[in-house]
């Protein structure tokens, strides 16, 4: 039987990156901005997005210098496998933790809205089944699913029009970056930056694209589309709530949806937040995919679906660690901070390795 002919193209990469960056921190984003950046924090948010673009640029450099070779190929050209394998395993375990904490956090927030008495691990188990169902498919199918999920969720940005009536420009302060309750620090700005996490997984797409795929065009556009979508929501929240209101709201976006009343439906946040399970699924699956790719590098002869099963099982059991929302938020913040460091360190290390390989004349070539 013929195999599916389609390959990843720029459109699917754009939407895959969009969905991967659409992580759970989005619902608390206006508060994070207010706490950490202060008045008119959306400008700081844009500045951080530019920083993320620079980070993507570093990955582009790796792709160009490595001539399409996968990150594993590059590293193994310079260092022996015995050194690299423990690193892969460590990173894989870390990504499993990230996947699990991101996935579980969503359900703990969901419990605030409904199903307070249901065991969150039961819901998380069902979610893990979904993760497994998607993970056993290849990256093309994951991107196809992400495309459909994108169209199923993007319309929710349009719900912001319902807030226009009560939206006041006067709620935007003329002051810049003032009243940040947490104070300005590298770490606090980084907390806002964590919302962009997900683009770094583009490094695992290198082997699945060709020159025609225009990988980095897709990554850049995807990153800026999610930036604009989130900016619309942030600006709506800034003009709808006062500065201090946002500060006191745990998840301002959920509250924003709470006020929408249609003739046939109220409290639409119940529906929209449930719909976010699609975005949460793609984020979790993409981190699992990163872990899977790293582990597969160390044991390539494993039968299909076995490793996926092990990874999803680990994701499920790791889900037992965060027991309540506060703990989950803390753990999520920790893993996302670490992920931010990894996102910057990996391309820098790879560029150094590639420069070294260039000197030695051993740069791998995977161009097609």
């Amino acid at each position: 039987m013929n195999k599916v002919k389609e390959k990843l193209n720029v459109f699917h990469i754009t939407l895959l990156i969009f969905m991967t960056e659409m992580n759970i921190t989005m619902f608390s984003l206006p508060r994070l901005i207010v706490e950490n950046i202060g008045t008119n924090g959306w400008i700081g948010y844009l500045a951080l997005s530019v920083l993320a673009t620079f980070n993507i640029f570093l990955y582009w450099l790796v792709y160009r210098m490595g001539r399409g070779a996968s990150v594993f190929q590059i590293m193994e050209c310079a260092l022996p496998k015995a050194v690299m394998y423990p690193v892969y395993w460590a990173l894989a375990v870390f990504w499993i933790f990230t996947a699990s904490f991101t996935g579980k956090n969503f359900f703990l927030i969901f419990q605030m809205l409904s199903f307070q008495t249901t065991n969150p691990m039961f819901i998380f188990l069902l979610f893990c089944l979904m993760v497994f169902a998607l993970l056993i498919k290849n990256i093309y199918n994951i991107s196809k699913t992400a495309t459909v999920f994108f169209f199923m969720t993007i319309w929710t940005v349009g719900l912001t029009v319902y807030q226009f009536q009560d939206w006041e420009i006067v709620r935007f302060s003329p002051h810049l970056f003032q009243l940040a309750s947490q104070g300005h620090s590298f770490r606090n700005w980084m907390e806002v930056y964590t919302t962009f996490m997900g683009y770094e997984l583009c490094m695992f797409l290198f082997p699945h694209v060709t020159k025609k795929s225009k990988l980095f065009q897709g990554v850049f556009i995807g990153h800026w589309v999610i930036t604009i979508a989130q900016l619309i929501v942030i600006l709506t929240a800034f003009g709808y709530f006062s500065f201090h209101q946002i500060e006191s709201l745990l998840y301002p976006i959920i509250d924003l949806l709470d006020f929408i009343e249609m003739p046939f439906i109220n409290r639409i946040e119940n529906l929209v937040f449930s719909m976010f399970v699609f975005a949460n699924l793609i984020v979790t699956v993409m981190y699992c995919f990163a872990a899977l790719t790293a582990i597969k590098q160390t044991c390539p002869k494993v039968k299909p679906n076995r490793l996926e099963f092990v990874i999803v099982t680990m994701v499920f059991f790791t889900g037992y660690i965060p027991k309540y929302l506060g703990q989950s938020e803390q753990l999520l913040r920790k893993v996302l901070y670490t992920e931010t460091y990894i996102a910057f360190i990996v391309p820098v290390v790879l560029i150094c390795v590639l420069l070294y390989l260039k000197l030695k004349g051993k740069v791998p070539n995977n161009e097609s």
Partner: protein, 511 residues
């Protein structure tokens, strides 16, 4: 006393080794076994009268005629042959011919010499007569098609456009197709499917428009079918699809020649099975099942509105009842207070939880539909009316169910019938039950999770190596104009991307 069960080995070690080996087998790939046996082709035997008589032993519908004047033996199946061709090609020329004259007669082109016993048997089964003359065997086609004449399709009716439908006879169907597409580029390939029934299957495609790789792949798949008998094209497509366990149909089937002709021109491949009034089309995507030939016979704005209506129908079918269950079980706060009073009043008398209530009503509707389909038309209508009254009024008055659920279930059922493909409509109605159960267990979240699972499944489904979600994913913007809407003809300049045609632009044939 310490017993060592295996020579020099501890039982624990053996057990651990066993577990380890099983784990290894579970996780890692093993080398391929080389014990595959390839079947040797059988040698062709020369046809002999005794051999043929032996083959058709105990068949009352088998007839042998002898003409001693010219030493000719003829065998055929009388119920398959027509009296006119029999008279023209057998009785008239041979009844008074001498041996020399017979030799001249058999030089005519309709008498085909055969040297293969299998071919001879097959020819007789196809309605040909086998003629044994000296040590030579000839086949002459004296068959007459058995079956109904071209008539309107009962399952796929249209308001505007041609009303003719395919019938069970393969040659008639091919004739209808040839009349629709008068081109030498229309190619047809014949196969025999079914180890016992040997049903004729014909593939048709337009050369230089259809993707040749796809044609070859389909041929290979049909040749590799190992099944006793294939009775219908809906059965054949299940034997050649890539995802046999999927609930969704992967090949579109239709009884409408105009639909088949337009698909062929769009670069698709179609297949006919002898004895089946439905032809199948491939490659097909999920959205093809929502388009009807009607769409193209109406103004494009109207055609588009109808197509959008069908997609709305799909959304209603899949989610309306499930959403009712979700809201009435877990999310009462979502109902505006103006509606809330009516709903609570209506639900107050109902003794069941919404999930059970919805499942009961949905099952009743399905029972009614199935009963209506199995019974003769007139009785079916009566059942529909009686069932409608029982469900519509009596059930509510008896406090068995709420008014709002009746509206929801009825709307879902009506919406499901807007989908032109009966098989797709039935598949969607089936997965709706999954959604209702999940909505009853986890409310809106369960509903979304179930929809997510359906999307994941659909993303993995392929048809002839093309994605089932084309042109949405992989995205093809120009094809979208003929997917969710029916674009104007001046906008439909490209053949569907799913066909992967080398002649991408319509109205042109690049050599």
């Amino acid at each position: 006393m310490h017993i060592r069960p295996f020579h020099g080995e501890n039982i624990h070690e053996v057990l651990i080794m066993g577990v380890f080996q099983n784990l290894r087998k579970f996780f890692f790939t093993q080398g391929k076994s080389s014990d595959q046996v390839t079947a040797k082709p059988e040698k062709n035997e020369k046809p002999a009268l005794n051999h043929i008589l032996d083959q058709f032993k105990d068949c009352i519908d088998f007839q042998q005629r002898t003409y001693p004047n010219c030493s000719v033996h003829i065998v055929y199946l009388p119920f398959l042959v027509g009296p006119e061709p029999l008279k023209r090609d057998i009785v008239d020329p041979l009844s008074e011919a001498t041996e020399e004259e017979a030799e001249q007669i058999f030089k005519r082109s309709q008498y085909k010499l055969t040297g293969d016993a299998k071919e001879c048997v097959k020819g007789i089964l196809d309605g040909q007569a086998a003629i044994f003359f000296r040590d030579l065997t000839y086949l002459v086609d004296i068959s007459e098609p058995v079956g109904r004449s071209i008539s309107q399709s009962e399952t796929e009716t249209v308001i505007s456009g041609p009303h003719d439908g395919f019938v069970e006879n393969l040659s008639q169907n091919l004739g209808v197709l040839r009349k629709k597409i008068k081109s030498t580029h229309l190619k047809t390939v014949k196969f025999e499917v079914g180890e016992i029934a040997k049903t004729d299957v014909v593939l048709a495609y337009i050369d230089r428009i259809a993707d040749q790789d796809m044609v070859e792949d389909l041929k290979k798949r049909i040749r590799s079918i190992e099944f006793d008998a294939v009775m219908d094209s809906n059965m054949l497509i299940q034997l050649i699809d890539e995802n046999p366990n999927s609930v969704f149909p992967q090949f579109m089937t239709t009884e409408r020649p105009d639909a088949i002709a337009s698909k062929l021109i769009g670069g698709r491949i179609v297949g006919f099975v002898d004895g089946s009034p439905s032809a199948f089309v491939c490659p097909t995507n999920f959205f093809d099942f929502f388009s009807s030939p009607d769409d193209y016979y109406q103004r494009w704005l109207l055609g588009s509105a109808l197509r959008i209506l069908r997609f709305i129908g799909f959304l209603i079918t899949i989610s309306f009842t499930a959403f009712y269950v979700s809201v009435t079980t877990y999310h009462y706060e979502m109902i505006p207070h103006t509606m809330l009073l009516n709903l609570t009043e209506s639900r107050a008398k109902v003794p069941f939880p919404p999930l059970i209530e919805a499942l009961l009503m949905e099952t009743t509707i399905e029972l009614l539909r199935e009963a209506g389909a199995r019974l003769p038309t007139k009785v079916g209508q009566t059942i529909g009316i009686v069932g409608g009254i029982v469900i519509g009024q009596a059930a509510v008055q008896a406090g068995f169910t709420s008014n709002i659920l009746i509206i929801s279930v009825a709307t879902s059922a009506i919406a499901s019938f807007t989908i032109p493909s009966y098989i797709m409509s039935a598949s969607i109605r089936l997965i709706r039950f999954g959604l209702i159960i999940m909505a009853g267990v986890l409310g809106n979240l369960g509903l979304m999770m179930c929809i997510g699972l359906v999307v994941i499944h659909l993303s993995g489904v392929t048809n002839m190596g093309t994605s089932y979600l084309t042109p949405l994913s992989p995205m093809n913007f120009s094809a979208l104009l003929d997917t969710f809407v029916r674009g104007p003809f001046w906008g439909l300049r490209k053949r569907p991307s799913i066909s992967d045609s080398q002649n991408k632009s319509t109205n042109k044939m690049r050599k």
